[in-house]
């Protein structure tokens, strides 16, 4: 059996395996954990993802090995919906884009599963955690592999659900539960846009295809990506409210993407999502789920390419988010918050790439970002483990000595995200910036360029404050009543075990070298990555060598080195300077430190309004609807009282009356029954006399 037929027939196994794992750990996990301990659960969870990873490798090999023009493998499982004109199959699409994505999802997913077995050790919700995590892998694979928009939407919602479940995993603390709610609700806003986009696309296409009275024997699967790619041009000349239909649909879909991928204005949930366990932040909120929006745009690139307006919106929002989040990241003190804002910022880069139609560059950055950001988050997890659940970098410092492996991997990932050549971030980020410049978005390039400097600045700050200098754990004010054992802490700071550091090393390795799959032609590379994705994204104009590319490259390397230099200078050489600067620009710092008060603005604009509305509705419910309900209840009660009274008085009265009359006549008659013989005899005599007299009188004789 060739690899291709294997994927065609058994490709669905890649989804089934984590689903099964989730079912087992979710349904029987509690008993397994009680009986056999946590180990079998970890094995089941990791094993199921490993199976998926192996199939993903096979799929990748099958796609990569296929001839030009045949790089799409469809695995049809069954016909799902067939209602009139609506038809949808459960089928999975393996093509260059999705095969790259599933490698990332299952590969990094497996590493993070392995990492979690150590990180979550001793947690009573161990089985629950792995069940959610496996379910997440399943949903993400469904999102990526789903061959039509409906399946993708199911996966889209599924990952949102898993994200919610995992953010509020430690739900006994209210802040975590609120963070989970926030993520879910903000995502709902985005999902609403997404589903509107799907519906608009479907209805317009349906009108176009079936509107002409065309009768087809089997309704085509309208929302299938292959069908869309061929027929989406049909909606080219339709206007909705004076805007082209493609723009409306793309913007709706992009609203979904901003929700899932944490872009302005819906990014607010991601920093709060750090309430979840750190491996979850690495897998869901850095490497995979948040890239769903980018993947979706990549998958529907033919649609987005039809609408220049929406592409401009995407690029602008992406660039703005990149810069905005980077500024916030510069001043945060929670290590995970810094990384979260960094993620938002890097996702902004990806959207910038998508917006300037450099789809393969965006996906390239997605891949490299998945590696280095997962690595950074897992390092943060390792640090948090080593620091006994301290996340504030102000109380870290000097960890280089205690955690050498974590330090080294963190360093590599930092260099990668900062865009220092030859680490992976350099190639992907530079590609996006160059494409932005080349397509004439010089302003956006400038924003991206500034963000590069800031990125390397805040990452260097993180490294310097966390790993260099003296350990400051003992300086921590012990207001934190949960961990009040300051003294023995510093001795306790130690390197994490190998099941934690192993994934770090692997991810750091890929953060280092992943860039080489897409070395641009200008640097003598073949840009294999772009060639590989060409069946999906189509051909780019052949890049003629432009000296500007070298200039820009030099500029961005200079920016990132400058950022690193500034970071080292401010936080290593002159560590007193940051405080002085902060006191000089106190106002600005306060605004940035408080994330531009966006949360407060949203709270004022939307949350308070919603709360007011809920109160209004609640009082409407209480005073109006309840009034009617109560009124009805009263009427019913009155009616039933009446009918009860009728029953009691008339019906029962009749029955009782009959009984009473018998009782009464009995009691009266019993008086005659004196029990005295003589009385009876008297009566007898009287009656005899009466009878005889009657007979005599009637006969007229005496």
């Amino acid at each position: 059996m060739s690899m291709k037929t294997f994927i065609e027939q058994y490709g669905f196994m890649i989804l089934l395996s984590p689903l099964l794992g989730s079912a087992i750990t979710g349904l029987a996990g509690r008993r397994i954990q009680k009986k056999y301990g946590a180990r079998p659960i970890g094995l089941i969870a990791c094993g199921s993802v490993l199976v998926s990873f192996i199939i993903a490798l096979a799929a990748f090999a099958a796609v990569a090995g296929a001839r030009e023009g045949e790089k799409t493998i469809i695995c049809i499982v069954f016909n799902w919906l067939s209602v009139g004109d609506l038809r949808a199959d459960v089928s999975f699409l393996f093509d260059p884009l999705s095969s790259v994505m599933i490698l990332i999802v299952t590969g990094i997913g497996f590493l993070i599963h392995a990492y979690s077995t150590e990180y979550m050790k001793g947690d009573s919700g161990y089985y629950r955690y792995f069940s959610y995590l496996n379910l997440f892998i399943f949903s993400m694979l469904l999102l990526v592999l789903g061959e039509n928009l409906l399946l993708m939407f199911i996966g889209w919602e599924g990952v949102g659900l898993c994200s919610y479940l995992l953010i509020s995993f430690w739900f006994s603390e209210k802040a975590n539960a609120i963070a989970g709610n926030k993520a879910f609700i903000v995502n709902r806003v985005g999902d609403f846009g997404f589903i509107l986009g799907i519906l608009a696309l479907y209805s317009l296409l349906k009108d176009k295809i079936f509107g002409g009275g065309l009768v087809v024997p089997v309704a085509p699967s309208l929302l299938s990506f292959r069908f869309l790619a061929e027929n989406v041009h049909l909606i080219n000349n339709i206007d909705i409210f004076g805007v082209s239909a493609a723009t409306v649909i793309c913007l709706c879909l992009f609203v979904g993407a901003t929700g899932k991928s944490a872009q302005i204005p819906l990014y607010v949930w991601l920093p709060d999502a750090m309430a979840g366990p750190t491996p979850v932040s690495a897998l869901i909120h850095a490497a995979t789920m948040v890239t769903a929006g980018i993947y979706m745009i990549g998958r529907l690139n033919f649609l987005f390419s039809m609408s220049g307006t929406s592409l401009n919106v995407i690029a602008t929002i992406g660039a703005a988010t990149a810069l905005f989040a980077a500024t916030v990241g510069c001043v945060q003190n929670d290590i995970k918050k810094v990384l979260a804002y960094s993620t938002v910022s890097q996702l902004g880069y990806m959207f910038l790439g998508m917006g300037v139609t450099a789809y393969s560059s965006g996906i390239f950055h997605l891949v490299t970002h998945a590696f280095f950001k997962a690595c950074l988050f897992l390092c943060a997890g390792s640090i948090i483990l080593g620091m006994h659940h301290e996340q504030d970098i102000r109380w870290m410092g000097g960890l280089k000595r205690y955690m050498p492996k974590t330090f080294l991997t963190f360093m590599i990932a930092t260099l990668a995200i900062s865009g220092v050549p030859p680490f992976s971030g350099f190639f992907s980020k530079d590609e996006i910036l160059w494409q932005a410049w080349k397509t004439g978005h010089q302003g956006l390039w400038l924003v991206g360029f500034m963000t590069t400097g800031m990125t390397s600045f805040y990452m260097t700050r993180l490294v310097m404050v966390t790993f260099y200098g003296e350990n400051r754990l003992h300086l921590r004010p012990s207001t934190d009543d949960r961990h009040d054992h300051d003294d023995h802490h510093r001795d306790g700071v130690k390197e994490s075990p190998s099941s934690v550091t192993m994934p770090l090393v692997i991810l750091a390795f890929f953060s280092g070298v992943a860039g080489f799959i897409g070395v641009p032609a200008a640097l003598g590379g073949g840009n294999h990555f772009e060639h590989f994705l060409m069946p999906v994204f189509g051909h780019h104009a052949v890049a003629h060598h432009d000296p500007m590319e070298y200039v820009l490259m030099f500029a961005s390397v200079a920016a990132s080195l400058g950022g690193i230099g500034a970071g080292v200078f401010l936080y290593r050489i002159r560590p007193e300077l940051p405080d002085i600067i902060v006191s000089k620009i106190k106002m600005v710092h306060r605004i940035v430190y408080n994330k531009y008060f966006v949360d407060e603005i949203y709270a004022f604009l939307f949350v308070s309004g919603t709360m007011l509305m809920t109160r209004v509705f609640a009082s409407f419910d209480r005073y109006v609807i309840d009034l009617f309900v109560d009124l009805t209840a009263h009427v019913l009660r009155f009616k039933s009282y009446i009918s009860g009274a009728i029953d009691r008085v008339i019906v029962d009265g009749l029955v009782n009356g009959v009984a009473e009359s018998f009782l009464f006549s009995g009691s009266q008659l019993r008086k005659i029954q004196t029990g005295r013989i003589q009385a009876y005899v008297m009566v007898l005599l009287f009656l005899v006399v009466l009878g005889v007299s009657l007979v005599v009188i009637l006969k007229g004789e005496v």
Partner: protein
């Protein structure tokens, strides 16, 4: 035949009967009541004998009278035994106090 007509017998019999009824009703003592009943019985026996004497030419009526006397004797034995057991049970043979038959 005789100078005594049948009316004389019947009058005596009626007299006996009424005395028996009166005794039965008025007496408080059971023995008295019983005596009254005996009188009623005897009045009927007298009737039997008188009607037999004046209407038929055989002795059926007299025969019945003898039966009645015999039955009255047996009845008296039973009644006296009953009275004795009533007395044993209730300690009294006053008819007014014996109202166990009262409903």
């Amino acid at each position: 035949m005789g100078i005594i007509a049948i009316q004389s017998y019947l009058i005596i019999s009626l007299f006996l009967f009424l005395m028996g009824i009166f005794t039965t009703i008025s007496r408080k003592n059971i023995i008295g009541i019983f005596m009254g009943i005996e009188l009623i019985l005897n009045s009927s026996a007298l009737n039997f004998a008188a009607f037999s004497r004046f209407s038929a030419h055989n002795l059926e009526g007299q025969l019945f009278s003898i039966f009645i006397i015999v039955i009255a004797a047996a009845e008296a034995a039973i009644a006296l035994a009953l009275m004795l057991s009533i007395y044993r049970r209730f300690g009294d043979i006053d008819a007014d106090k014996l109202d166990s038959l009262k409903g």
